[in-house]
Symmetry: C2
Subunit: 313 residues, 2 copies
Amino acid sequence: SEMAVAKFETKNALSAWADAPKKRIIDWVTAVTTEGASDFIPVADRIAVFDNDGTLWPEQPVPNQAQYMFDYLKKEMPNHPEWQKDAVLNGAAKGDFEPLKKAGMIGLMNLIDKTHTVQTEDEFEASVKTWIDTTMSKKYNRPYNEIVYLPMIQLLDYLKANEFKNFIVSGGGADFMRAFAEEAYDIPPYQVIGSYGETKYEVIDGVPTITKVSGDVYVDDKAGKPQAIHRFIGKKPVFCGGNSDGDQAMMQYTSSSKYKSMCVILHHTDGEREFEYDLKTLSGHLETALVEAKEKNWLVVDMKNDFKTIFNF
Amino acid sequence: SEMAVAKFETKNALSAWADAPKKRIIDWVTAVTTEGASDFIPVADRIAVFDNDGTLWPEQPVPNQAQYMFDYLKKEMPNHPEWQKDAVLNGAAKGDFEPLKKAGMIGLMNLIDKTHTVQTEDEFEASVKTWIDTTMSKKYNRPYNEIVYLPMIQLLDYLKANEFKNFIVSGGGADFMRAFAEEAYDIPPYQVIGSYGETKYEVIDGVPTITKVSGDVYVDDKAGKPQAIHRFIGKKPVFCGGNSDGDQAMMQYTSSSKYKSMCVILHHTDGEREFEYDLKTLSGHLETALVEAKEKNWLVVDMKNDFKTIFNF
Ligand SMILES: [Ca+2]
Ligand SMILES: [Ca+2]
């Protein structure tokens, strides 16, 4: 029998997906975008949210933003003699992460602080853009902004074509992601929500300047995700894509929509083409969300079998 | 001579504006939207920001959100015996604002806290919507969401038609404004930036619930405006509309765009059709921004002469 088709489906939409998950996505989009159908969602309420690390691009062996921090430390270390006395910073710059692991959350927050603050918004953006355009992933030998999941890019495009508005809602740094999301995902900065810190505004020599400074950090993870959706979007999503227990709260929140909603969890099952992990990993622990996925009929994507192609190379 | 016309101008765009400011706006929009012209701004960078109180709707005799708080206090007072012992709350509910004025910022923050927290996001939205649909302004004898400046609505429409993205960046509460901005201004919640407080996320009887709670408040005014633009939009605006010194920082920020930018200040000069104020007012003090407007050639709108019509009634 023929597959149902959504209004704006092009012939090759979702071509990198296996048939079963592809059909499920298309059936849902068709149901909610067909005018007059009982599950129709008005365009204004077609809000889709996506986690980033492990959902739109890889997060192994370490999240790309962590690699950016290590590279930044290494590059800037000669200019900061005081960093060389800090075991965590000095170790991370040299590829020794044992001091960082021992220092726990406090060490990590200091690492983030040193690599992300005391820079203007323009300086930070330029620094991330240069890094992402010129640094090669060791595993794939390509710049990081090309190492994105093709099926998920197709999904973003497909939803956008069907008049959904795609937002990133990720634990990654908002300013970090905004430096590449428009080019990599066709998602503009004001639809990128992430963790963020404090800034100050000053007019320096006549130039209004926003500088990233030390202070409180909003952590956009777990309960922080639906809270950030409330703060930044102000509407409950109807679609949510994620890959870890950190996304479980925003999936619950999405599932409580008055509309027929859809949640998708990427399960990293392909150790050959990508990485295989769920329970034993520093980034992307997936356990309780899988249990709730069964109860709530969220779509669990087995990346090994459900992604015909993972990358566009 | 004929006026220049922007790409998407309709015949009656900006019809409520006098000729001189109208020409200036149209000339700028034409310059920055004409492909191949030296001042062309790509669609992705056409970010416009607007203050709300005193810029899109009135803020006298008190800002509408303050009136909402007073009405809410009055309605809820019987359920909160503890409020009746508080001079500020008890006074405000009865229309006596002397205790509030004496209590200064601390009294005001307590008033905001009592009227805006311990409610779920849905309860708060419903409360504001009901209030705004059913409460009549004493001066205009209409519900508040109809008392918006027609020339500014035309400007929003004109910019949107020319592929600008309109954001509100206001000292008013984000959740408060989001309850009416989509209907009143055609601006969706995720393009409404305002002051905001803390929330908590809980699953209550299986229902994911976001509740507004006491805690830190982000005040989206003065330097907080460009900082919020950085936090929420992540791009520098090219157009800014405001009416007070509280908008001066975001006008400076806009003026520092690499593109040809435009800033517009509403000067409330019409005591007959609206209100006349600048230096002597609790809301909307306008002084230093007028000085900088001359230096930087920002458009100062004399509402009495430059708005042919103020309201659409
Ligand atoms: Ca993730
Ligand atoms: Ca104002």
